[in-house]
Symmetry: C2
Subunit: 558 residues, 2 copies
Amino acid sequence: MGKMASEAFFVVVVVAAAAAVVLANALPVRSERGGVEKDEVNIWPMPAWVSHGRGHLYMSNDFVLSTEGSGYGDASGILKDAFHRMLAVIKLDHVVDANFSALHDQPLLQGLRIVISSPKDQLQYGIDESYKLMVPSPEKPAYAHLVAPTVYGALHGLQTFSQLCHFNFTSRVIKVHMSPWTIIDQPRFSYRGLLIATSKMKDGIAVKLPIFMDTSRHYLPLPVIRKVIDSMTYAKLNVLHWHIVDTESFPLEIPSYPKLWNGAYSTSEQYSVADAAEIVSFAQKRGINVLAEIDVPGHALSWGTGYPSLWPSKDCQQPLDVSNEFTFKVIDGILSDFSKIFKFKFVHLGGDEVDTSCWTTTPHISKWLKKNGMNESQAYQYFVLRAQNLALSHGYEIVNWEETFNNFGNKLSRKTVVHNWLGGGVAQQVVASGLRCIVSNQDKWYLDHLDTTWQEFYANEPLTNITNLKQQKLVIGGEVCMWGERIDGSDIEQTIWPRAAAAAERLWTPYDELAKDPRQVTGRLAHFRCLLNQRGVAAAPLAGQGRAAPEANRGCFW
Amino acid sequence: MGKMASEAFFVVVVVAAAAAVVLANALPVRSERGGVEKDEVNIWPMPAWVSHGRGHLYMSNDFVLSTEGSGYGDASGILKDAFHRMLAVIKLDHVVDANFSALHDQPLLQGLRIVISSPKDQLQYGIDESYKLMVPSPEKPAYAHLVAPTVYGALHGLQTFSQLCHFNFTSRVIKVHMSPWTIIDQPRFSYRGLLIATSKMKDGIAVKLPIFMDTSRHYLPLPVIRKVIDSMTYAKLNVLHWHIVDTESFPLEIPSYPKLWNGAYSTSEQYSVADAAEIVSFAQKRGINVLAEIDVPGHALSWGTGYPSLWPSKDCQQPLDVSNEFTFKVIDGILSDFSKIFKFKFVHLGGDEVDTSCWTTTPHISKWLKKNGMNESQAYQYFVLRAQNLALSHGYEIVNWEETFNNFGNKLSRKTVVHNWLGGGVAQQVVASGLRCIVSNQDKWYLDHLDTTWQEFYANEPLTNITNLKQQKLVIGGEVCMWGERIDGSDIEQTIWPRAAAAAERLWTPYDELAKDPRQVTGRLAHFRCLLNQRGVAAAPLAGQGRAAPEANRGCFW
């Protein structure tokens, strides 16, 4: 052990120099070691650049956070809270005992020094999420050193640091192995999302998979949503797409039109405005934006429970009545209330799977269509564009599901981000037209497709057939979707994980030889899955379908 | 609302008088209302005696704990911590707003007054777990009133109180409905257990169900064990049976024989002595005893990883070598170390599924058998009885699996509790012989039997065919068993719940017309399952096999 330690210090010098060179080097390059040797670098998602040694370090029992020399004041306590969450997560409830004899003559890490250049900590789309982590610090070997332009980059650095630390039963303290570490990291895409549905069935899937023909839909309790948000941070996902409202339920309070809340499942399965604001604040403190969705004009039947005049008629209840000015008043009211809670740059307006037949079969609407010289598809376009203008008037940029693009892409606001879901190959058409795109093709990135393996999630490449650099930039990222048909508080975690983590690395890590082939990363992802279990997240094993039970193995780690 | 409130006060008076009478009445009787009307009393497990009104109360935003006049000092903070856990659990992360206008002129509950007569708070088998809860207090209508002989009775009272409270979206505060409440409660059995295995495959099951023919076994991380313990308190279970060691793994540190730890799955999947002590303390603070098991002489192959001489031979590795004095030295050392951590009155010595063929096929052991004039079954008896004496010498009473009773019941220490698992009908033989019994018949109470429904768990009656009162007292309770073949941190919660809750009511609630027929309690158990989900426990739905995905429904509550 003593020998190992001295080796460690030797390597520090060498790598510190190397790191200096690297820091000067703008283009992140990959360590030859990083991620290649399965049992070595078990960091998920794999950072852009990794270098490590062969030594080890132990953490002092009073491992402290130091922000001296930082331009960031942490007035909101984001950094302090994250630091203490990290300590709890690496201790995993083990009893740490720094007086344990095995620590005799070992180098101790006294703390983590964090330097953040930007004093601001407003979270928003496109902020700099990069960070540099050195363990130990070349200047102060008794400290680890984390440098980041923003606190949100630092949060990612803390997550990476937590994956270098393990409770060691020989020393009874936290051990950092393979030190010294130099990690220079930044995400490949700015939008790395997970969709949760608190009211939803997806007809497209219902048609595709008989198992989803039921009309189930499930509320998610606040503690469940919070735990999902915490687990997202472990995989460096940064957008929670909250599909709040749908055909079956309207769980969120809308002060402007309070009767919309009558569409909730029950008086126990609702979210108040204050609840939603708390979720947004909880997510923001963890570097996660919340993308709120109201899906119009389809998937909105539940709106009529409180305001029946939003239905074409009692017998034909969706899509929303395009001929009724009140419909757009309500959308305007919802977006006005949204703008007070959901501070993310984007709002999602849905627009998918619209069956407009109710419009022609309902006399007063078909009369209105004739009067305005519109057919059904023109009315669908009219509705979507008018909703877009309302969103723009509240300062939002817009996300719409791809059907809007497929039907009248050239008419969409240039501030539209097209959300792909039907299949592959859509992104290249979207970016060719100059619009931005989020990739969620259901054949690869729908978590409720239990037969889609983690390898398929991992292999799904958002930039397929997009070679033009300018067009590549228009693919702002991707999102895995956890629709709610067979999901509630009882099975959401193991349906999301570990497959969402496979997509998370695709969205975070450079798409090069080290993060391309699922066969090369199986052991590392299996290790991350065990890490999630250790942290109390019910991530399913890699083998078998989504949320399969564990198979025979020699424990979780091997 | 105003009207409701005034009604509430009217009923308070009436029931306060009634309650006084009831309190004077030693024999708990059941309310005609209790549990009969599905949508009314949603308390799980159903208390021994329930009376309620038609009013409602709101909790003040600064709802306080008061222990004035209590003989109990709460020096260890058990009560204070439990009170704050309860507040968190009933708020469910909702934003409470006591200034919300709907509260205008409503009666507010200012706090909960708890009076505990015993100053001691040492948890042990057989302590008084009863409590009386009145909401509001007849004397102080602004307070709820909880009376209990011990702090552990009070903990159960807090759990019951939490089930009377619901966040109310109209008032934005916690609402107690159907007040006034008078609940007089105590458990039917003193031993209400849940087994978890951190190393185990159960050959009996392997033979029974091909799906369990694999040799899988899974470590449970400390955060997972803690969450299981917290969830047990919601159902008023009071014993965690920790099946620590088995054929495949020896995860627990044993200072007396440190190499035993070499039998752990990996260096990440271990428990230090300090970890185990922390788990015991965590459980004790929640009123839960930890029953530690070392299963001998079978299911002990992993012991030989560190001490090969415990194996009959390299090729024939279990059961433990009966002819080797070192074997009993090690057992003595383990029990000595156990006695410092596990303060429960009982230790579990296993004794199940012993295939002794290795003893006769191994020359030095068969020679030893001849020398001592023993055949295989006599040697099995010799081993079990010698282990029992070692446990007794460390101050433990003993629990053994039923094979020991089935083979030489009349030889067992009279301090033995026989643990039934093979099938029904065993308990009556055990208690007829004057020994105590714990019921866990695998056809009804094994949670890893996914095809056993909650209705079968609920209908399993420990006192079947035991009419003699003295013999009935010898059935100290029952236990549901969560063997680890297909279980790890990813699926343990939904495999345990809600079926363990069905057994929990059988063990807690008087077996009378109100808690006999599963059809009468379906709605109430479904409500409890939703409550578990709201609290972040991944309890599976009632329909379908164990841990089935949710079916179509209108949300969780209906």
